[in-house]
Amino acid sequence: MGDIAAFLAMGGYADFVWPAYGVALVVLTGLAADSWRRYRQSTVVLDRLQQRRRPRR
């Protein structure tokens, strides 16, 4: 248990090290999630449009 506490304490710099990693994690995963959501949305819209066109041709 002491090992984990020492790890989390980061030699007394926990207040700076963990937020730095946290910011990177939040920003990059946020960007990835948003990109993925927009991609899914764009495929759904495109599929719907293509389906609507097909019967007329």
Binding site: F16, A24, R52
Partner: protein
């Protein structure tokens, strides 16, 4: 290679296969890199455990610069050769560049507070990176400000190319001016001046960020291609004028005024 990939249909086919590979490799490499950075790497003899911020901060800074270079080169290709994918690549990459620049600034600030005693100083390195961040935001705002994506792309490309002047300023700011920021210790003449135990996680994190960038770049380019295709379909379904060939559509609507 670039020429060969510049065909949208071919890009769609290849990226569909490369994307999952790239994404999962990025996840694995980043996990290894994080473990190495947080656990295996030793604390610095002067900076203690704050040195671990470097494993995020420095790769993020490299990504910020390299993605800007990528956006600028893609913009130049889009302006000069009118490659259909080049402008889309620049557009897709810019938000990632902004994100990495933000991460670089935020982690730098969190590192500066315990080591320099201040969150921020208006010196050459920090200010020029802040300008890089604003250049990214300006580019993103500009390309989205036009209804016609080709006009927005053109305006953004010009901004991206003008902003390239900032890159050497960032790179050499630590040599040209007095600053709190340390000079380069990896990308320097005479080889890196950093211990191997810290160089390894630094390079792993850089590889992870690069793969992450590549995967998201493909995903975001596919999104733009989908959106453009949907836009064309919608236009054709309505009372819009007869579809013009893609080549003609890339030309300015009012040649006399452009």
């Amino acid at each position: 290679m670039i020429n060969w990939l510049a065909n949208p249909a071919r890009f769609t086919r290849i990226s569909a296969r490369a994307l999952p590979w790239c994404g999962w490799t990025a996840a694995v490499v980043l996990c290894v890199g994080l473990f190495w950075s947080l656990v295996l790497a030793p604390p610095d003899y002067q900076q203690g455990d704050t040195v671990r911020i470097m494993f995020i901060h420095v790769p993020a800074a490299w990504m910020a610069l390299n993605i800007y270079l990528f956006v600028a080169v893609a913009s130049a290709v889009a302006l000069v050769w009118r490659h259909p994918l080049a402008e889309i690549a620049a557009r897709a990459a810019a938000p990632m560049g902004a994100a990495f620049t933000f991460v670089c600034l935020a982690t730098g600030s969190l590192w500066g507070r315990p080591m320099w005693g201040t969150w921020w100083v208006w010196d050459a390195r920090l200010t020029s990176v802040l300008i890089l961040f604003f250049l990214y935001l300006g580019y993103i705002a500009l390309v989205n400000a036009f209804d016609d994506p080709s006009r927005g792309g053109k305006a953004g490309s010009i901004l991206a190319l003008v902003g390239v002047v900032n890159l050497p300023i960032i790179k050499f700011s630590v040599d040209w001016w007095n600053t709190l920021h340390q000079p380069a210790s990896v990308m320097r003449i005479g080889g890196p001046r950093i211990d191997i135990s810290m160089l390894v996680p630094l390079l792993i994190m850089t590889a992870g960020f690069s793969l992450f960038f590549l995967a998201l770049l493909m995903l975001r380019m596919r999104t733009v291609l989908n959106e453009r295709k949907a836009g064309t379909l919608r236009l054709n379904a309505g009372v819009a004028p007869a579809p013009r060939p893609a080549r003609e559509r890339a030309m300015p609507a009012h040649p006399g005024r452009s």
